[in-house]
């Protein structure tokens, strides 16, 4: 008997970026044992990410769409673009966490190794052409983020968040597996392309069991990207986790969830578009409503940003509902912009955290413009961008999503989205009002570090540049998704 599996050099070459991150993660675990200064470990993490980024760049040049590992893993512009989002997320997260984790007395080398493992899991998700590979990547990402959430071992809040995240994450994994097994039972395959083929040739798009499998998968992804009514974990977990991990979680797993959502809904279930659109529209409306309205009453900035990220997931979902490649382009474009503005906002939140001072209450932002004008100005930019006010990038992101939505004929939905967007402007601008128009109640000391300043500079410049010259990014996204 011959072994049915053969792995060629082409296969190995396609996963070089993932392998790089995992190898660097392992090296970091060993490095952590001998190196006392954790800054060095963090720098090794950044170096590894840059190396992986270079690998993706090299592969980007060679391939249009390439299926490897017996059609289980795909290398295309869509996956590569998402990988770039993950790299940016990872590098910025490392930059903002070095000083912060020292203040929290949780400066472990494992932190950086787990960040790399989680990111490689996301990359596998983005490249998955088979539901089993997708599940593998999802678990690698999820298990790493559960540990990262509970990393502040001495704080009950962090432990509670990790347990909650773990239980609900395990729950959603079960949903995903149930959906996969139903789909497999109906189509006889777990390969995304073959599922699409089976649905069209067998004519089972109207089959209720198919519908059930689809709904189970949507529920699982809704948990991961925190769509209402599956968002309950998000505020507690985002509040309890280390703030740098909150920044990481609110971008990375969300982007990975949308990556697989786009690939599976449009790739595998393309023939069932009428069915999944009817499921997603109520989800999107509920998500935007929950995120925008509950955020109004929050007094903790991490919770407020958690609800804000729920609302943003709703806007990103709108592009997928549009159901066209252009709609998907708008969503992916939005995700990239969201990465910069959200991490930027969390970077300011982290700066307010200093020894013996939590700096998480909205009241702590009162009078920030007088004592720290630069930080306040940067926060102003991020808040304007999250609210979607021109000339920041957030406006451009929302503009394209709403435009594509109207182009696909969902005008009422676009109007609802714009109304909720206007509501959400209230709580973003409240922070601006606090910073510029109120007097400080106490003296605020900002925690600065060189890497933090770099991260802030990059995010704020990108938010402004992408807001003023949006066509560059959009062209890049369109080019990436073209082959998809």
């Amino acid at each position: 008997m011959d072994l049915p599996i053969t792995i060629t050099l082409m296969d190995i070459r396609a996963i070089v970026p993932e392998l790089t991150l995992i190898c660097v993660g392992l090296i970091i675990m060993l490095l952590d044992l001998v190196v006392k200064k954790k800054d060095l470990v963090a720098l090794a993490g950044i170096a590894g990410t840059v190396l992986a980024l270079f690998g993706t760049y090299k592969l980007y040049g060679v391939t249009d769409t390439q299926f490897v590992f017996s059609n289980m893993f795909v290398l295309d512009g869509y996956a590569n673009f998402f990988k770039v989002i993950f790299y940016i997320n990872l590098i910025l997260t490392i930059c903002i966490s070095i000083k912060y984790m020292e203040i929290e007395k949780s400066s472990f080398g494992e932190y950086y190794a787990l960040l790399l493992f989680a990111t490689s899991g996301m990359m596998i998700m983005a490249s998955a052409a088979d539901l089993i590979v997708l599940y593998l990547g999802l678990e690698l990402m999820a298990l790493s983020t559960y540990i990262l959430t509970g990393l502040m071992r001495k704080q009950p809040r962090s432990n509670e968040a990790a347990i909650k995240y773990f239980f609900l994450g395990a729950f959603s994994s079960a949903f995903l597996l149930y959906g996969i097994s139903l789909t497999y039972g109906m189509t006889g395959t777990t390969n995304i392309k073959e599922i699409a083929f089976a649905i069209s040739t067998l004519g089972i798009a109207d089959n209720p069991i198919m519908y059930l499998g689809l709904i189970f998968m949507i529920v699982a992804f809704s948990f991961k990207v925190a769509l209402a009514p599956f968002h309950m974990w998000a505020p507690d977990v985002y509040e309890g986790a280390p703030t740098s991990i909150t920044a990481f979680m609110s971008v990375g797993p969300k982007a990975a969830g949308f990556a697989v959502m786009g690939r599976i809904l449009m790739g595998a279930f393309g023939d069932m578009q009428a069915q999944w659109v009817t499921v997603l529209i109520p989800l999107a409306v509920l998500t935007m409503a929950t995120g925008s309205i509950i955020a109004l009453s929050q007094t903790n900035i991490k919770r407020m940003l958690a609800y804000s990220s729920i609302a943003h997931a709703g806007y990103i979902l709108l592009g997928i509902i549009a159901g066209t490649p252009e709609g998907l382009t708008a969503s992916v474009n939005y995700l990239m912009i969201y990465t910069f503005m959200n991490i930027g906002a969390f970077a300011i939140v982290i700066m307010l955290r200093s020894k013996g001072f939590q700096g998480e209450n909205l009241d702590d932002y009162k009078g920030l413009a007088k004592s720290h004008p630069v930080a306040a100005a940067l926060m102003l930019i991020f808040m304007f961008s999250l609210a979607g006010i021109p000339p920041t990038a957030g406006f451009i992101g929302k503009f394209y999503v709403f435009m594509e939505l109207i182009g696909s004929g969902y005008t009422p939905l676009a109007i609802i989205a714009i109304i909720f967007s206007a509501i959400s402007a209230f709580f973003y601008l409240r922070i601006v009002v606090y910073m510029y128009m109120k007097d400080a109640e106490q003296e605020i000391v900002l925690t600065q570090s060189p890497t933090m300043n770099i991260a802030l500079a990059v995010t704020s410049v990108m938010v402004l540049v992408l807001g003023i010259f949006p066509s560059f990014l959009l062209y890049f996204v369109r080019y990436s998704i073209m082959g998809y």
Binding site: I5, L33, G185, M186, T187, I204, N207, M210
Partner: protein, 123 residues
């Protein structure tokens, strides 16, 4: 054709399942209906072989046990993977060898890591 398959062979299993649930539920319901109910304090205390119960049944014990148990599971699973690999070694050839070596190498890094971190240190 997928989607039209009805597993008729499993019908007896379904019947057994229904009968078993009916017997289980029936016994409980019959018990509730038939038995006299005269509770008093002595009767309601947990049964510990005649001794009066002392303290909570749950007690804290050291987290070290968890760590050892977790490490045991990890390396136990490694051994489980190696049995079929060793049996089918001549069929798997060089590919199987390289795969298993990679697997063991990654676990080796984990082993060095937990050792250096002092997870095996009981004190």
């Amino acid at each position: 054709m997928p989607g039209t398959y009805i597993p008729t062979d499993y019908f007896p299993v379904l019947v057994i399942l229904l009968i078993a649930s009916a017997i289980g539920l029936g016994a409980l319901v019959a018990g509730i209906l038939v038995r006299p109910r005269r509770p008093y304090a002595q009767k309601l205390t947990p049964y510990e072989s005649g001794n009066p119960p002392i303290g909570e049944p749950r007690s804290q014990f050291s987290v070290k046990f968890y760590i050892i148990a977790m490490l045991f599971v990890v390396f136990d699973v490694e051994a489980v993977f190696m049995y079929p690999w060793a049996v089918a070694y001549d069929k798997l050839g060089i590919f199987g060898f390289v795969e298993m070596m990679l697997f063991m190498f990654i676990l080796l890094i984990g082993y060095i890591y937990v050792w250096k971190k002092g997870a095996f240190n009981w004190e």
